[in-house]
Amino acid sequence: MTNTPGPDDRPLLSAVDLHKTYGTTSALDGASLHVRAGEIVAVMGSSGSGKSTLLHCMAGIVRADAGQVRYRDRDLTTMSDAERSALRRSDFGFVFQFGQLVPELTCLENVALPLRLGGVRRREAERRAAEWLGRLEVTDVSGQRPGEVSGGQGQRVAVARALVTAPRVVFADEPTGALDSLNGEQVMRLLTEAARHTGAAVVLVTHEARVAAYADREVVVRDGRTRETVLAQR
């Protein structure tokens, strides 16, 4: 776990020719993306370009109308809702804009939640959650509710929640969208460091270049189609 695995040639997660329409609005129109293990990929694009939809399809949250999503030789598009939910519990982690912490749970309980959903006993889940809060430097807010902490602290708690299950892929949808630049930088540093430390791949949806700069590679989504613009070697 301490060794950061280098990018593998074989993709861990692949989306091929995805199409998705909401009503009469086409969100994805032939988008494709391949993510290798341990790789950090920034998905960029303007509002409404379809980048969040691409993330939701790749995470198995939303089923694409056409196309294929494969994760470790498994086709997500043919999996049942229950199978995709189980996969999200075990292999994926999520960070959303505004954190989206459960307001009634304390920060510690929020971080422990994915573990508990996966069947880990409360005490053990909270022990591991406390460890992650420490790694993300927010131990002091563990007993507080999300409404009582700052935006930056809340987002770090959200990052801890995404990583606590040791996922293979972390999906981060505008994780710094609600933060000032200083807090945003801090959250991105902690997220990428922690992901590299655990070997998790990160699919990072953002429209900010300074956030995308943390990624190994950038992909632009425009009108529902993907275009690789930069092959970064960082």
């Binding site: 969040s52 939701h56 949250i61 996969l87 959303f96 459960v102 009634e104 508990r116 959903l117 999300p146």
Partner: protein, 783 residues
């Protein structure tokens, strides 16, 4: 801020509040719609309650207008404008059917309301409900009983309600006397017997118990979407609005919701009014035209609902005014204070305390206002204490499964909305328990033993139709042939007098009852040591021998049997061997002294003008046995009365009030269930993004479903415990007020709690499809 804008500032603040209702686009409109629906349901129920007196008046006026049984005063002599009428009521599978046989004396008889002319002999006019029943497969067994050509339908003015089952049958077989009366008009003054103090107390408390939860419900409904509204108002406060301005803006918002609610309530009421004719509760139905709210009460409702809305909004502002930042950031609220919540039930109890043992059940008047206010305060105490109780209990809860943790943490963060939603249920249950205790306590005054012996017979048939003596055997055989009837005991009655008796000052000759039956039948009427066909007995009441024996004829005395109709009267000499025997109650609790004769002792073939009395041993639990008995009786005469025997009978008014309470509590709980459902849906909608996030994590549907159930069930359970405690205390107080000992009525406590639990489960079940719809990840979309 407000001081500078006094005058027009008022209107501007209110208008700003009104505009905020629609802020937030679709969400704002949806919230307003939910409030309007919630308040509207309550308003519709209040308008319906305010129509009860007109509904009852309409029924009793129409019932009085068709009345043909006048007590006191003589009957008119036969003439061109008179009519003979007799009752031929019957029942069918629990439905009471009003029947009348009509026979005009001349060419201009009175016509009952709802008819344009009298039916001819053998013709029948029926109510629409009866026509439908007779035409349906359900009415198969009734058709033989009312097998006459239907020549018309009774119009609305002749019916108590749309589901009134009634018929008029033309005949030419009636003779004045007995149950047949001669009338020259239909209709009497509509009168209503007053209520005794205990029943009045019950009715008053029923109204408080049923209307108070509606008030609590309306107060809860105006707070639908309260979380978002509070955050909006707190934001206003943070940007500089002072407390007064914030209060005015909140009032403006609340007023708009209440006005929409009033409009929705009027629409629900008008729509429901059209559907009211389709509903029959406990045999009572009303015409849509009867459902008219009392104008005074309607105006009161129109004023009270906005006033309640504004008052509730102002009460909810305390935290927004004091700590707006906490509201915006959704931090946990400060702990609730207990003292003022306790004041309400304590003052209520103090108001009722002077009345303990103070209501005289026979004559006593009591201070109705004091009782109403006392009961109201005690019951409002339930709603006021509940948030504190919920908060105090859930604060201590820890651990558990994820669903339990989500629910408990949610309750810890916001006890108010949950407690507010179940407050109405708790108030209704507390009131219901108190009333049921009072009912159970005073029941013995209103539920009395009939004296009927259901171990000897299960049904009684009375035939008043000038039977011939020869009818005895056929009558018995007719009922014996009915499937399900095991035993038949038949007697024939006729009046007789001593042949040499003289009329008294009123022109009446002293009459003695002659009852004819075989030995088995006579043994049901008197204690006989021996009996054989041909025997005759003098039956005396040993409890009152002095009053009954002197009227009885002597052995060997010559009698005139059926003396009231000289054309059919016969002479009969009593035997010289005439043993005196003690009477006993017959199975129908009848106890008649007179002469008992076996068929062989009289010339049965010569006797006329007899009444029949038949006791049946039958298994009435078998479906339709009693209907087959009624059909057999109707073949003898449509005026035959078939009466299933019962050991006890409830006083009519008492039974009506008890039925009313049950209907009211069920209706109130269903309304509160609707409120709970709207509240849960509103909470779910507010949390749809959070739910979508939980789904993204892979949270199971069942986890979130259980969470919704716990979140509702925990406050309901606590509410029920509180309701049982305060309801029992109120019930005990009410019992003490009518000088009855305290008795815990566990069946009613269990029943009320069960009803409430059923409503909660139903509501949770109904909310699950909405939850599952919200558990779609599309909730994560922001664009």
């Amino acid at each position: 801020m407000s001081a500078a804008r006094r005058g027009p500032g008022w209107a501007a603040d209110l208008a700003l509040g009104a505009r905020l209702v629609f802020a937030g686009g679709r969400n704002g409109l949806l919230r307003t719609l939910m409030t309007a629906v919630g308040v509207g349901l309550g308003v519709a129920l209040l308008l319906t309650s305010s129509s009860i007196s007109t509904m009852l008046d309409g029924r009793s006026e129409r019932t009085a207008a068709r009345d043909d049984q006048f007590f006191g005063g003589g009957q008119p002599p036969p003439g061109d404008q008179t009519l003979l009428v007799t009752s031929a009521d019957t029942a069918y599978r629990g439905i009471q059917i009003r029947g009348r046989l009509l026979q005009p004396d001349g060419t201009h008889p009175p016509v009952p309301p709802g008819l344009t002319r009298l039916p001819g002999a053998g013709e029948m006019v029926v109510s629409p409900a009866l026509a439908d029943l007779l035409a349906s497969p359900e009415g198969t067994l009734l058709r033989p009983r009312l097998d006459h050509p239907v020549v018309g339908t009774i119009a609305d003015p002749g019916l108590s309600g749309p589901s009134d089952y009634a018929y008029y049958l033309g005949t030419d077989q009636l003779r004045a006397g007995g149950g047949t009366v001669r009338i020259d008009h239909f209709g009497s003054e509509s009168t209503s017997e007053g209520l005794d103090p205990v029943l009045l107390l019950l009715v008053l408390i029923i109204f408080v118990v049923l209307l108070l939860p509606i008030g609590v419900f309306i107060a809860a409904a105006v707070r639908f979407g309260g979380e978002a509204r509070d955050r909006r108002l707190a934001a206003l406060r943070l940007v500089g609005a002072d407390a007064v301005t914030t209060r005015r803006v909140a009032a403006g918002e609340a007023l708009v919701g209440a006005l929409f609610g009033l409009l929705a309530g009027a629409v629900f009421f008008l729509v429901g009014r059209q559907l009211v004719e389709l509903v029959t509760l406990q045999g009572i139905s009303v015409f849509a035209s009867d459902v008219k709210p009392s104008p005074v009460l309607a105006i009161l409702i129109a004023l009270a609902v906005p006033a309640v809305a504004v008052a509730v909004a102002q009460l909810a502002l305390r935290r927004i005014v004091v700590e707006p930042l906490g509201v915006v950031r959704r931090s946990a609220a400060r702990r609730r204070r207990l003292w003022w919540r306790l004041v309400l039930p304590v003052v209520g109890a103090l108001l009722l305390a002077p009345l303990l043992g103070g209501i005289d059940q026979t004559s006593g008047a009591f201070n109705q206002v004091q009782v109403i206010i006392g009961v109201m305060l005690l019951l409002i105490g339930v709603a006021a204490l509940l948030p504190w109780v919920v908060e105090a209990v859930v604060r201590r809860l820890r651990g558990g499964t994820v669903s339990w943790q989500l629910a408990i943490r949610r309750l810890q963060l916001d006890t108010e909305s949950s407690a507010r939603m179940v407050g109405g249920v708790a108030v209704a249950v507390a009131g219901g328990i108190a009333l049921q205790m009072l009912f159970a306590g005073v029941q013995h005054n209103y539920v009395q033993s009939t004296g009927q012996d259901v171990s000897r017979a299960q049904a009684m048939v009375l035939v008043h139709d000038n039977l011939a003596g020869a009818a005895l055997g056929p009558l018995t055989e007719r009922f014996r042939a009915v499937p399900g009837v095991d035993g038949v005991i038949t007697t024939l009655d006729v009046s007789m007098t001593a042949a040499d008796s003289k009329p008294d000052e009123y022109g009446e000759r002293p009459a003695v009852l002659l009852r004819i039956g075989d030995c088995a039948a006579l043994r049901e009427l008197a204690t006989l040591d021996r009996c054989a066909d041909g025997d005759v007995f003098r039956a005396v009441d040993q409890d009152f021998p002095d009053q009954t024996t002197p009227n009885l004829p002597d052995p060997g005395q010559r009698m005139e049997v059926g003396f009231r109709d000289p054309a059919t009267a016969t002479r009969w000499a009593l035997p010289t061997d005439l043993p005196t025997v003690p009477v006993r109650d017959d199975p129908g609790a009848g106890r008649v002294t007179g002469v008992l004769a076996t068929p062989g002792a009289v010339d049965l073939a010569a006797l006329r003008g007899l009444d029949g009395r038949v006791f049946l041993t039958a298994d009435l639990t078998r479906p339709d046995t009693i209907e087959l008995v009624r059909n057999a009786a109707a073949e003898v005469t449509p005026t035959a009365v078939v009466q299933p025997l019962r050991a006890t009978a409830e006083a009519n008014r008492f039974a009506q009030i008890r039925r009313g309470l049950f209907i009211g509590v069920v209706a109130t709980l269903l309304l509160l269930g609707a409120s709970l459902l709207v509240g849960i849906l509103e909470q779910l909608r507010e949390r749809r993004r959070m739910l979508a996030v939980l789904v993204a994590f892979g949270t199971r549907r069942s986890t979130l479903s259980w969470s919704v159930l716990w979140q509702t069930a925990v406050p309901v359970l606590l509410g029920l415990v509180l309701a049982i405690v305060l309801g029992t205390a109120l019930g005990g107080t009410l019992l003490a007020m009518v000088n009855e000992p305290l008795r815990l009525d566990w069946p009613s406590i269990a029943g009320m709690s069960g009803l409430a639990t059923g409503v909660v489960l139903l509501v949770t079940a109904f909310s699950l499809p909405a939850l599952w719809r919200l558990l779609r990840p599309s909730g994560l979309r922001t664009e």
